[in-house]
């Protein structure tokens, strides 16, 4: 199994969710996150005082998949998340040893 993590622009969430559903993913976890990459932050002005806001809002999406689906699923996420502008985010995967469905106790790929 693999854990796919995507840190992307918040407004892409719906597209990504729909694309994942079409792909056959049954569940995912979404967290509100903040961070910066190459685009850095932005500037805000309050009563003439400029603030550089380094951390910009992002969402972090996590999906568990079987090894064979991983590369294809990454492509699906990247396609749905892309706007072509700076700050689109990152997607990565890491191997997962095991997963358990809490309600039934099923293990491994059956738990997905």
């Amino acid at each position: 199994m693999k854990l796919i993590t995507a840190v992307v622009k918040p407004h892409r969430l719906d597209e990504i969710k729909e694309a994942l559903q079409a792909f056959g993913v049954h569940g995912l976890t979404v967290t509100e996150a903040s961070g910066y990459g190459r685009q850095r932050g932005h500037t805000e002005v309050y009563r003439g005082a400029e603030y550089t806001v380094d951390l910009v809002p992002k969402i972090r999406i996590e999906v568990l998949v079987e090894d064979d689906d991983a590369e294809q699923l990454i492509d699906v996420v990247v396609k749905a998340a892309r706007t072509g502008k700076i700050g689109d985010g990152k997607v990565w995967s890491i191997p997962v040893e095991t997963a358990v469905r809490v309600r039934t106790g099923e293990r491994g790929p059956d738990a997905l």
């Binding site: 805000e44 002005v45 309050y46 009563r47 003439g48 005082a49 400029e50 603030y51 550089t52 806001v53």
Partner: protein, 447 residues
């Protein structure tokens, strides 16, 4: 204040209309203090929201009691030496009859007393904006009590009390440009010079945590300010109070637009904070002047105040004093602008026949009077407030520890958090720990 409207031979009779108007105006001015609390509360970082709200709110408690006990007597009692008033019948309001009229006016003394109380409440609350994030609540409460006694009550007497030096000189301050705004702004400057900057000033980002709260506060201030300004004529037997009401709206509109235009040109955006601040700057500036200027004059006063205050809020970074929420930049500067502009724009057709440089015989007389009033109040408040803060700072201490300030003054001083957005909670009710029997019986812990 207003001259007597009644004929000399006839004793005034209570006017139900004016009395009703004054009680409504008192309630409007009361609402300004919670409004101010929101205006300031939205501007601080999330960790000091409650402290900022409380610094204003506590004034409703402390000053009310002091005003009833001796404040009203000090401000409006019989003058001694043009400096202070006293009337032992008014101490604790023990000798006041409910139907007794205020001087030569046709409203009850009690109505005048409670209207003026609301001014005494908001003035120290205004100072709190300069002291955000860092002042011990007990020290602040003590400061309010002492400041009201040593600074506000005497200054209100100078400006509005019969026999006060500024009143006798003919300084025009319709509703509190000097007594309220210059007074509070100068005090704020005096206190921050003593207690110093917030940890991380000019280094850490200190963005407003909730601009909607700031807008709500500004809206409440604008609304309540009609009572503050129009009510200060103490009745509607002539058109002066209405002129004041109208000019309040006009100057505020002009100031908001002027501030927004300035910052659009200077910084590239129309900000909500700019709109809210500009409105307040206009309200401050028209406060002394609205009974003297024409509606076109009100546009000028508002626009000038909007631009000058927008420029003034940058001074703290230049000079390195941490006027956290710009009490000096908005209230001191706005108050000075409004008070001084009377010397130029007084038309002679409003509250008095006094004319400014641009009207009548183009004389500077009123301008000199205005400058004397501004200078006297500014200097007294600045110096005495600084001494007061110094004494408190050296005894019980004005500031929370650096650790408490960085962690958040809300938790340190009030044991509360402004917002709880966590679904999980992550704690347990203390009763569950100290009273296990009761908790076991109810089997419910509200976390």
């Amino acid at each position: 204040m207003a001259p007597a409207i009644t004929l000399a031979a006839e004793a005034p009779k209570l006017s139900a209309a004016n009395t009703g108007f004054m009680l409504i105006c008192s309630a409007l001015v009361m609402l300004m203090t919670p409004g101010l609390a929101f205006f300031y509360g939205g501007m601080v970082r999330v960790k000091s929201t409650l402290n900022m709200l409380m610094m204003s709110f506590i004034s409703l408690g402390i000053v009310t009691i002091l005003w009833v006990l001796y404040g009203f007597s000090m401000a409006f009692g019989t003058d001694s030496g043009s400096l202070i008033g006293w009337n032992s019948d008014w101490v604790g309001l023990t000798g006041v009859d409910k139907g007794e009229l205020w001087g030569t006016y046709n409203i009850p003394l009690l109505a005048f007393m409670v209207f003026q109380l609301m001014f005494a409440i908001i003035t120290p609350a205004l100072i709190s904006g300069a002291l955000a994030d860092r002042v011990k609540f007990s020290a602040w409460a003590l400061f309010i009590a002492l400041w009201a006694t040593i600074v506000y009550f005497p200054v209100a007497h100078w400006v509005w009390g019969e026999g006060g030096w500024a009143f006798d000189m003919g300084v025009i301050d319709f509703a509190g440009g000097t007594a309220v705004h210059i007074n509070a702004g100068a005090a704020a400057l005096g206190v921050i010079l003593v207690i110093g900057k917030r940890v991380g000033f000019k280094k850490d980002p200190m963005r407003p945590h909730s601009l909607p709260l700031v807008m709500l506060g500004a809206g409440l201030l604008w609304f309540g300010w009609f009572g503050f300004n129009a009510g200060s004529w103490l009745g509607n037997d002539d058109g002066v109070g209405t002129l004041m009401f109208v000019n309040t709206q006009i100057a505020t509109a002009a100031a908001m637009l002027a501030w927004l235009a300035y910052e659009k040109i200077r910084h590239g955006a129309f900000t909500t904070l700019g709109a809210a601040s500009g409105a307040v700057a206009g309200l401050v500036a028209i406060t002394p002047a609205g009974g003297s200027v024409t509606p076109m004059g009100a546009i000028a006063v508002g626009a000038i105040a909007g631009v000058l205050c927008a420029m003034a809020v940058g001074l703290k970074y230049k000079f390195g004093f941490d006027d956290s929420l710009d009490v000096v930049g908005v209230h001191l500067v706005g108050g000075v602008v409004g008070s001084v502009l009377i010397g130029f724009f007084a038309s002679g057709k409003g509250q008095s026949e006094a004319t400014g440089v641009f009207y009548g015989d183009h004389k500077f007389d009123q301008l000199w009077k205005q400058l004397a009033g501004v200078g006297g109040v500014l200097a007294y408040s600045l110096i005495v407030s600084a001494i007061l803060a110094f004494v408190i700072h050296k005894t019980i201490g004005m500031r929370v520890s650096e650790d408490e300030e960085v962690t958040g003054i809300d938790q340190a001083e009030h044991a509360e958090t402004a917002y709880d957005f966590s679904g999980a909670g992550g704690g347990a009710a203390k009763t569950a720990v100290t009273a296990p029997v009761a908790a076991a019986a109810s089997k419910k812990v509200d976390a």
